[in-house]
């Protein structure tokens, strides 16, 4: 405990001296009396004998109460604090402001949006800091951005930074912000340190990395004072979010109308009605499609199919917009969809049979890929260049100009093993954006793919494969394994199979295969068997991806090729591989975008055009990586279409696609609005071993900052206690003054 009053020692001495006051007053009053000659002394004596002890006891209590009151008064004037402070109350502090600018901070409350409330509160606190304090502002979202100010004691700069803070579409990851705050405080030279976190304290934000979060908080609390500033929030808004926008065909043809799967999820606690979704393609007026969303129960996701035309060959911008809910920040999804007019597919067959092609492992897969009719490229035989090669005949050059490669029936015989040269080329193929699908067969070594699982040829030095093959998978024909459709993650490339009629994929029966084990951390298990075992694992590597399936590609131990959902399933896999190649053109807010410009533009300086901001952001020249130029940016906090344009060109001003422009789409982080529930102050306090100071923007706006709370000063509570004791003294004094 410490005392914040500069003259606390003198006050303490005065307080001790003041104890004698009630006693002096008591005797002073006793010395001022009137004399009355009295006859009936025996009755007076009797009444005195009867009452004196009670009166004296009451007076003693009253005296003690008054002494306690004076002591408390002196104590309050000393301004006690439960925390050990350096210097007095006006000592400067190193202050760090962590301001949450995530999507949920866009929710409009009576007092303005949550971000506006946070900014106002930050201003109030900024004004209340002691002079010579330093200020550091950290913006937190997916990443933490150290905003400065450049001169930590310059409050005008700090005010300007706070005023300029903008809403992002990111989810919050508090941990990096806290770690940054620890670092900033560690650099601070002042003895007193304070960390302010301005946030709506969304429950989902605090569940992430909770153990690490607590450790970071504990470190911060050791370094200085932690103050949580929670924005005012009323009832949760009736919110629905667009969570998925994906073409339902693997390869959309340019100039054709393409069906898109749009998923809408109710993230609020009430049933939503009257929602509509509009999809816009190349020509917003002509190609838009609007559809009403059926009533959505809380947590329910509705799949909608909307169509639009994609005119351009190459990258097309498609936008889905949701109308009718109360929170706009997650009502728009943009996507870059690439159209192609040709697709090269290579199938490596480990069990070729020229005499009876139906016995080949690739028979059903090749037929699925060749089956035609319809609007999509996959269904056009002219557009698909299919090359089926026996495993023993495979050589690296066959992968040239190939977009997708299927490995089927490998590892079942000595001749069904791939050569090392081919596998090495396969690694490069994947790293350069190729798609690889591996059906179950033998072990990795038997397939010759063990080189992919090692560091050989891998830029990261780790396995390119999402998993390893385990033991053979067997099930009795009477109790075959089926697919668990509910295991498909929402928003994944297989999410279309969660809904009728394609959900019949779940009826596929499998009795043989090979288990997927040693699933890597960055692998997506997009489908599982009914017993929970992984059935399909996907791992991305740059713009390429590798899919491993736990079932055979032919009819051995599975009836998948005969199922109606087989063709869409194969299409979905190809679509995923191709979108991955286009892909990484569609990222989530806060993700890092990497682009490889043409080699002839390696020396070109580029700028980034951020949606809603007319000022280009300088990206500089690309860096060379493995002899290819690369440009990366993490300034992707806002959802929308971003453009990377050469600096100093007309495109920089207009943003028009002149052929030198790269486009990418950023969508809001769906995690942020998946649950809008916020933590109550009590729940928040429970997450800390040492209870932090909790303020609300509401109280800050009305009353300003009471620094006594920040400094753990007891004085306000002492004044209340003194007030209560004064009232008690008055009542008790009145009661003592009554007849006994």
């Amino acid at each position: 405990m410490s005392f914040l009053s500069p003259a606390w020692f003198t006050t303490a001495l005065i307080g001790l001296a003041a104890i004698s006051l009630p006693i002096i007053i008591h005797y002073l009053f006793r010395s001022r009396y009137r004399v009355v000659p009295w006859a009936a002394m025996q009755f007076l004596k009797k009444s005195l004998e009867e009452t004196t002890r009670r009166i004296q006891f009451r007076e003693l209590l009253l005296l003690l109460l008054r002494i306690a009151l004076l002591l408390l008064l002196a104590f309050a004037l000393m301004r006690p604090s439960s925390k050990q402070k350096q210097g007095d109350t006006n000592s400067p502090v190193d202050a760090v402001f962590i301001i949450d600018t995530s999507a949920s901070m866009a929710i409009a409350e009576k007092a303005g949006t949550r971000l506006e409330q946070a900014k106002q509160a930050a201003m109030k606190i900024l004004d209340s800091l002691p002079s010579q304090s330093t200020i550091h502002i950290l913006q937190t979202g997916q990443h933490v951005i150290d905003l400065g100010p450049a001169s930590p004691t310059n409050r005008d700069q700090a005010r300007f930074i706070i005023q300029k803070l903008e809403q992002s579409n990111e989810a919050v990851h508090l941990l990096p912000a806290l770690q940054q705050a620890v670092e900033v405080l560690g650099r601070g030279a002042l003895a007193n340190k304070e960390v302010y976190l301005f946030s709506d304290m969304q429950r989902s934000d605090w569940n992430l990395d909770s153990a690490d979060l607590q450790n970071s908080w504990a470190t911060l609390q050791q370094l200085g004072e932690v103050i949580l500033v929670q924005t005012q929030h009323e009832a949760q808004p009736a919110n629905a979010a667009l969570v998925n926008l994906r073409p339902q065909v693997a390869l959309p043809l340019p100039g054709e109308r393409v069906p898109f799967l749009v998923e809408v999820r109710n993230t609020s606690a009430t049933t939503l009605q009257g929602l509509t979704v509009t999809l816009r393609g190349s020509d917003a007026e002509r190609d838009s499609d609007t559809q009403a969303v059926p009533p959505l129960k809380p947590g329910e996701t509705a799949p909608l199919t909307l169509t639009t035309r994609l005119d351009k060959r190459g990258k097309n911008v498609v936008t889905a917009e949701l109308q009718g809910d109360q929170l706009a920040i997650d009502n728009r999804l943009d996507a870059i969809v690439e159209t192609r007019d040709r697709l090269n597919v290579l199938i490596i067959d480990g069990q070729p049979n020229e005499a009876d092609p139906a016995q080949s492992a690739s028979y059903f897969l090749a037929h699925a890929l060749r089956s035609s009719r319809g609007q999509s490229l996959l269904e056009s035989t002219q557009a698909v260049e299919l090359n089926v090669v026996a495993a023993s005949d495979a050589y690296p050059a066959q992968l040239t100009d190939v977009q997708a490669c299927f490995l089927i029936g490998l590892g079942t015989s000595p001749t069904s093993k791939l050569s090392n040269e081919f596998v090495d080329r396969l690694a490069t193929f994947v790293q350069n954006g190729g798609g690889l699908v591996v059906f179950a067969g033998g072990t990795l070594a038997e397939m010759g793919l063990d080189r992919l699982a090692s560091s050989a040829g891998n830029i990261k030095g780790t396995s390119l494969l999402p998993a390893n093959w385990g033991t053979p998978l067997t099930a009795l024909p009477s109790a075959p394994l089926t697919f668990d459709i509910n295991s498909i993650p929402t928003g994944s490339f297989l999410s279309i199979f969660r809904h009728p009629p394609l959900d019949r994929l779940g009826q596929t029966e499998t009795t043989q295969g090979r288990a997927l084990t040693e699933i890597q951390n960055d692998t997506l298990v997009a489908l599982r068997f009914s017993n929970g075992e992984p059935a399909l694992a996907l791992r991305t590597e740059g713009t390429g991806c590798v899919i491993m399936l736990a079932l055979h590609g032919d009819m051995r131990g599975t009836d998948a090729p005969l199922r109606p959902g087989y063709l869409p399933w194969v299409q979905a896999m190809i679509g995923q591989m191709l979108s991955q190649q286009a892909g990484k053109k569609n990222i989530i807010a806060g993700d890092i975008y990497t682009w490889s410009p043409p080699i002839d533009q390696a020396q070109q300086r580029f700028s980034l055009l951020v949606p809603g901001n007319s000022n280009p952001q300088l990206l500089g020249t690309p860096t060379m990586y493995q002899q290819s130029p690369r440009l990366s940016t993490s300034s992707t906090s806002k959802a929308g279409i971003y453009r990377i344009v050469p600096e100093g060109t007309q495109a920089e001003e207009t943003g028009q696609d002149t052929g030198q422009v790269d486009l990418f789409a950023v969508v809001p982080d769906p995690i942020e609005t998946a649950s809008l529930a916020t933590l109550t102050p009590d729940e928040l306090a429970e997450r800390f071993s040492q209870k932090p100071v909790q303020l609300s923007t509401d109280s800050l706006a009305n009353e300003g900052l009471d620094r006594s709370r920040v400094q753990h000063e007891w004085t306000p509570r002492l004044w209340w206690l003194i007030l209560v004791l004064c009232l008690g003294e008055l009542i008790f004094g009145w009661w003592c003054n009554r007849e006994v």
């Binding site: 009053f29 001022r32 006859a39 002394m41 007076l44 009444s47 009867e50």
Partner: protein, 296 residues
């Protein structure tokens, strides 16, 4: 300079008069019943003649009817001796002006003495505190009034009250039954006082206790810090009287109730003489009540 009698009180007392409710023994024929049968105007009974009786009292009409000598007897009317016993101790000094207890007691005694003598009865005065301060023997002479008034005027409070032994002494020394008027604040042990009153009653006296009290002594209306100095001793109490008002009143009312009940049991007429009440009012109320009771 003798004490000046209060005109209104005397006028009311004279109009009502003081009548002996019990039988009193007088020295001469008066207005009050005497225990002695005589030959006065009021016939009481016949009795048989015994030698020695005065032949003048033989009822010859009875002899004419039944040839027996019968003596005719009459109730002898007599005057009474009213004994005023007045407390002049220091405790009677309390009160200001007309509410002073001693002054009130003096005026009360003077009024009674005047009325008694004026109606032809004898009156005596005994002033006491710890001992007899002054004693004026009974007399029905008009000059007795002056003597009493002078004595009352002259006396000053000096000592504490010791009432019971003096009353016992008085009861023993007074042979003739008469009327006792005890005027005092009775700040003594109630049990001893009641015993002394019982003694007087046993001797056949009619006793009236005129309990002189100041309203402060009953209500105890003091506020603030007050030091109470005892009038009869050196005791001092510094206190805040409002805190113990209830306790004081309880103690005082208990004492007063004991005294009143004790008097009722002894057939002693208890009269509360509140010094805030005008003397004329007190006298007229008391004597009116006394008159009503005599007729019952």
């Amino acid at each position: 300079m003798p004490l000046t009698l209060p005109a209104d009180a005397v006028a009311r007392a004279e109009a009502l008069g003081i009548q002996a409710r019990a039988i009193v023994e007088g020295l001469r024929i008066g207005d009050h019943r005497s225990p002695y049968r005589g030959f006065s105007v009021e016939f009481v009974q016949h009795r048989e003649y015994v030698p020695g009786d005065d032949l003048r009292h033989i009822d010859w009409k009875v002899y004419g009817r039944n040839e027996r000598y019968t003596i005719k007897q009459y109730q002898q009317e007599t005057n009474f001796v009213g004994r005023l016993v007045v407390d002049v101790s220091k405790s009677m000094e309390y009160g200001e002006g007309q509410q002073n207890k001693l002054a009130y007691a003096k005026m009360l005694a003077a009024t009674l003495s005047y009325v008694i003598i004026n109606q032809g009865d004898a009156c005596s005065l005994d002033l006491f505190d710890e001992t007899w301060r002054q004693r004026i023997p009974p007399s029905s002479q008009p000059a007795q009034i002056r003597s009493i008034l002078l004595a009352l005027e002259a006396v000053e409070p000096a000592d504490k009250t010791t009432l019971a032994p003096l009353l016992h002494e008085l009861a023993d020394s007074t042979k003739r039954r008469g009327l006792f008027f005890l005027i005092s604040d009775c700040f003594d042990e109630p049990a001893a006082l009641l015993q002394a009153l019982q003694h007087l009653r046993y001797q056949g006296h009619e006793v009236t206790l005129l309990h002189v009290l100041h309203p402060d002594e009953m209500a105890f209306p003091f506020e603030g810090h007050i030091r109470f100095d005892g009038l009869e001793d050196a005791t001092r109490y510094l206190t805040r009287p409002h805190l113990l008002r209830s306790a004081y009143r309880r103690a005082f009312q208990a004492y007063q109730e004991e005294l009143r009940m004790g008097c009722e049991a002894q057939q002693v007429d208890y009269v509360l003489a509140d010094t805030s009440q005008p003397l004329a009012g007190l006298v007229s109320q008391w004597l009116s009540r006394r008159l009503r009771m005599r007729r019952m």
